[in-house]
Symmetry: C2
Subunit: 227 residues, 2 copies
């Protein structure tokens, strides 16, 4: 897809709506399999590392070790991938095969609001990168050191992730839900890539909610007995 | 501000940006003092009622009674005022002095994105009205009946309110922060009317966080002792 080039012609881009104006757009260099492969492999490496290291402590249960893997994975995704997006308004003009720009050039095929810099998307991604990312790493630490605030921290972050995902999907619906380059990209990127951040936070919220209610109940019973 | 009227002329409106297109706009009928007065008086009535009724139970502490007042006030505000807005895309065309339409015709002077139906604003208001409103009333009930999930419920709603307010302010900033008809409306409506939903949820989050951490700590100590 080369754009003619005599004067300042509008570079064609693969996104929908096609009349989206992206001056100086530079197409991606890396293939989809390379982009997804690098993300998948580095995530697998990270998760394996956390699983092995956490396994050295006999005090940490298997479910807590799994949660540590999740929090490390989602925290670094928030801080690195989403952090880059939140503060790189011109990623689609990137002239080199910078991996982080490639990720968002590719993902924009599933949701062109990323390239178009939709305010709702940028606000949610900014909050996720700046507040939730570091909080996720804090959750890894809190679980590892068995801090009493671990459940409440995990619940707070998960609720934030769910709220962000809800705003993300609702704003798209309100704006016409026509931002994917094809049905494939719609289901693979827009739906598929976000599904984990609906399902897993929901499960964590339910688990932490039960644990906290049980703890508060035990405490109030202890108080009653002491009277 | 009357719009000529031979043919379909664009009705002038008091909002900024002035080129905002609001076909069939009908100016508000009620004065600012009437709109604010009705809201203030009915809120005062509600709060007094909750305060008096909750005072009949000697088991409920004063801070919990105050919290019940807050949750009833904010819950009904979410459900009635914000619920009306979320599901009334054409409130600015309302030809009668319908109080709920008047509220949003007036508030749009502080943030015209309400009249313009900005997707970010509608998404946040929708979530607030549908999920957080009923949850607030549940919090009133949970405090009154001393349910063990009371703190976690209050914390979850407050975090949602803070997240929503953050998205609200950040999207405005990203879109140029030029939606108020004057500095007066900017500070009175956009900043002033929203300040309570930053300050009070923050205080509640801090309080509930401490209470929950303490309860979890007590429980884990109890477990250790029982071994």
């Amino acid at each position: 897809m080369e754009g003619g080039g005599q004067t300042q012609t509008v570079e064609s881009h693969p996104y929908v709506p096609t009349d989206l104006n992206l001056p100086d757009f530079v197409p991606g260099f890396l293939s989809q399999s390379t982009i997804v492969g690098v993300y998948g492999l580095s995530s697998l490496l990270l998760v394996s590392l956390i699983w092995i290291v956490s396994g050295r402590s006999p005090k940490i249960s298997k479910i807590d070790r799994l949660l540590m893997c999740w929090w490390a994975f989602t925290g670094l995704t928030h801080m690195i991938l989403e952090g880059y997006f939140a503060f790189s308004p011109e990623f689609y003009k990137e002239k080199t095969a910078c991996y982080l720009a490639e990720v968002w050039k590719e993902y924009s095929k599933g949701d062109s609001r990323y390239a178009a810099r939709d305010a709702g998307v940028v606000a949610v991604e900014g909050l996720t990168a700046v507040l939730e990312g570091p909080a996720c790493l804090l959750a890894v630490y809190a679980i590892a050191t068995r801090k009493s605030c671990s459940y409440i921290l995990q619940l707070a972050i998960s609720l934030g992730q769910l709220y962000g995902t809800a705003v993300y999907f609702i704003t798209s619906y309100l704006e016409g839900d026509n931002f994917a380059a094809s049905a494939y990209y719609y289901y693979a990127y827009y739906i598929g890539a976000n599904a984990s951040w609906v399902v897993i936070p929901t499960l964590i919220v339910i688990r932490c909610w039960k644990k906290i209610c049980a703890a508060v109940q035990v405490q109030s019973q202890t108080k009653t007995k002491l009277r």
